[in-house]
């Protein structure tokens, strides 16, 4: 059990994949890294595991520098996206592998394997080969192999992305409740934002080069550091609307879509945006905060829109509406029916709007101590992260 620290970690091939990354994952913390595929999330795990050597920087466990240690000398356990189960060995032998490597006696191995298998509900499969069990069971076996190792650090690479929805729910539940997993430092990599929000004590959003935002699920979803984070988290994707800020009767408004959409700026944010009066901003509006007017509290700002497409899914309906050429995705209750090319009255929760710098994408309204915060934010995403951590 230990704390994991990355200091100035760099790794690249033809171009930098990870560029001077700093990160501390505390003992017992479940840290999720979320980002688009191919951005270098797996590379990061491989650097921590020792399967790749960094070009520069250090990996520390409890302050000990383990950068030069080979993987078999690190007490790091990792699951692979492909599960990497030994096909010629049984489920029991797969799980037992880390114990065998440490020359544990047979009785202890049998006991530990049995208890881990029971925990993961694969104890009835112990004699099968990996080829004879389902995807979810393979993942549980791979998980068992890491749990039994009693490592200082857990690394989990897209452990549930390739399983079907029902088993994903089940395994997510298991990740929440497995105490062995929750008591050590864990780095969990996924491209699925819902998994990240669900599981992470803290979450890091990875863009090219490294983390662009770090925080709790609510931090990231409700107060994203920049547009990239806002666009990456959320399904359907956040509505992105180019707009201008204007004062009307001394109240700051935003005007979009050649003037057809005029919404008041939430008073709580207005003072942060005052400096941008008469300037361009990029508005982020999450679909869940624009709904048919009859589903929103009275008094919300309303707009009239034309229904383009509507689809009722499981727990929500998705409405794609057209406000004089501006396409907006809105959420509705799933039981409703909207016909194509009919009018609908939509209401917007203006308090939930995000304001981004159109040039840098930085969030303009993050509450930061001291003045001139917005410009400081715009200049550097990294400073935005640190200043939020202070706040």
């Amino acid at each position: 059990m230990a704390r994991l620290e990355l200091q100035g970690l760099c790794k690249g091939w033809d171009f930098p994949v990870i560029d001077r990354m700093d990160l501390t994952v505390e003992e017992g913390e479940f840290f999720v890294i979320v980002g688009p595929s191919g951005i270098g999330k797996t590379t990061l795990l491989r650097l921590v595991a020792g399967l790749e050597a960094p070009d520069a920087g250090k990996v520390l466990v409890d302050g000990r520098d383990i950068t030069a240690l080979p993987p078999y000398r690190r007490r790091v356990a990792m699951t692979f996206e492909s599960y990497a189960l030994y096909p010629h060995k049984t489920v029991a032998e797969n799980i037992a592998s880390p114990l065998r490597a440490r020359k544990t006696d047979a009785a202890t191995i049998a006991k530990r394997v049995q208890s881990v298998a029971e925990l993961l509900r694969i104890d009835h499969l112990l004699d099968r080969k990996p080829g004879e069990v389902s995807g979810g069971q393979k993942q549980r076996t791979a998980l068992g192999r890491t749990l039994v190792a009693d490592p200082e650090i857990f690394l989990l690479d897209e452990p549930i992305s390739h399983l079907d929805a029902k088993i994903r729910h089940e395994l997510r539940q298991q990740f929440h409740t497995l105490e062995d997993l929750r008591k050590v430092a864990t780095l969990y990599v996924t491209h699925d934002y819902a998994e990240a929000l669900s599981l992470g004590d803290r979450i890091g959003v990875m863009g090219s080069g490294g983390l662009v935002d770090v925080g709790t699920a609510r931090d990231l979803f409700e107060r994203p550091a920049n547009l990239f984070v806002a666009e990456h988290l959320g399904q359907p994707t956040i509505n992105v609307i180019p707009a201008r800020l204007e004062s009307h009767a001394d109240v700051l408004h935003l005007r979009a879509n050649q003037g057809d959409l005029l919404l008041p700026v939430d008073p709580a944010r207005a003072h942060l945006l005052a400096a941008r009066n008469d300037g361009a901003v990029t508005i982020g509006l999450r679909p869940q905060f624009v709904r048919p007017a009859d589903e929103m509290p009275a008094g919300s700002a309303q707009v009239t829109a034309n229904v383009d497409l509507y689809e009722a899914l499981g727990s929500t309906g998705i409405l794609i509406a057209d406000i004089l050429g501006l396409r907006i995705t809105a959420l509705t209750s799933p039981e409703r029916i909207f016909e194509h090319d009919t009018q609908v009255q939509l209401a917007v929760d203006t308090a939930a709007l995000h304001y981004f710098d159109p040039r840098t994408g930085a969030n303009l309204t993050l509450q930061t101590p001291g003045a001139g915060a917005a410009t400081a934010m715009a200049s550097s995403v990294a400073s935005g992260i640190s200043s939020r951590a202070e706040a």
């Binding site: 020792g50 080979p70 078999y72 790091v76 356990a77 990792m78 990497a84 189960l85 440490r102």
Partner: protein, 279 residues
């Protein structure tokens, strides 16, 4: 394709394959019956497809000369020794080429090694003779052939093992490192079992080559050591070839490889098809 057409095509295909099987099996059949014939019958102008009288004692007379049996033993020792050596070296080299292509000299070096198998063996026949003649054990020894056959078998073993190792997921080894196994342990416990079918196929190919080799054996050995391949032409009586004895002896020489093949067929097919697809 409708079901009717499908059946027709299937029937035609079966007939064709049946004919093909007869065509390939006929020489073996003819060899087998010849082994039971009398010398007179083998030399008759009109070949008989069934022995008029059976002479099972042919199988005993081939061993009248005691060195004939010894030649089978020599062939076996040479083939097996060469196979073990080829496999050992080929496995290590193949692993290096598969996992560390940059350090091991790259694809080009691997291909160059394979290309050693491509020149006509007869081109190096004479130089090799003088080369081995200068060694302390000379040419007429088992060890000389064991080493000589490496020239042909090791490139093949290296190349095929490289293909098999590439096919074995690297992540499995990495998972083993993270379990705490050292690279050598991971190689022995995880990777080798995965390429076992490949190793068996490679052994078979090497062993059969060495077992059947004639050209070099004929020049190199013959006094102290004999391989069975150079014994076969010695079954003569004056100017007359004793076909029945030749066939009886070579039939017996066929048994070890056939037995091996039947024993290891399962692995062999898996290994070979793997190699074909990937190589």
């Amino acid at each position: 394709m409708s079901e009717k057409n499908y059946r027709l095509v299937r029937t035609l295909l079966l007939i064709f394959l049946g004919l093909w099987t007869v065509l390939t099996l006929f020489p073996i059949y003819f060899k087998a019956i010849t082994a039971f014939k009398s010398p007179a019958e083998t030399n008759s102008t009109i070949p008989s497809f069934w022995p008029k009288e059976w002479h099972p004692e042919n199988f005993v007379s081939v061993f009248a000369e005691s060195s004939n049996f010894q030649s089978l033993v020599d062939s076996f020792v040479i083939a097996s020794g060469n196979t073990l050596l080829s496999l050992f070296l080929g496995t290590l080299a193949g692993y290096a080429f598969a996992r560390f292509p940059k350090q091991a000299g790259g694809e080009n070096l691997a291909f160059w090694i394979l290309s050693n198998r491509m020149f006509p063996p007869v081109a190096v026949l004479i130089p090799m003779f003088f080369l081995f003649d200068a060694t302390p054990w000379g040419t007429d020894s088992r060890i000389s052939l064991i080493i000589l056959y490496l020239v042909f078998n090791m490139p093949l073993a290296t190349w095929l093992m490289m293909v098999f190792f590439r096919d074995a997921p690297r992540e499995l080894e990495e998972a083993a490192y993270l379990d705490g196994w050292t690279p050598l342990q991971a190689f022995m416990r995880i990777t080798l079992p995965l390429v076992l079918p490949g190793m068996i196929s490679v052994s078979m190919l090497c062993w059969i080559f060495a077992w059947n080799e004639y050209l070099f054996a004929n020049l190199f050995v013959g006094t102290d050591v004999k391989t069975y391949t150079i014994v076969i032409p010695t079954f003569t009586h004056g100017s007359q070839t004793l076909w029945n004895l030749q066939m009886a002896f070579s039939l017996m020489a066929m048994l070890p490889p056939v037995a091996l093949f039947i024993l290891l067929r399962r692995y062999m097919v898996r290994g070979l098809s793997l190699g074909v697809v990937k190589g």
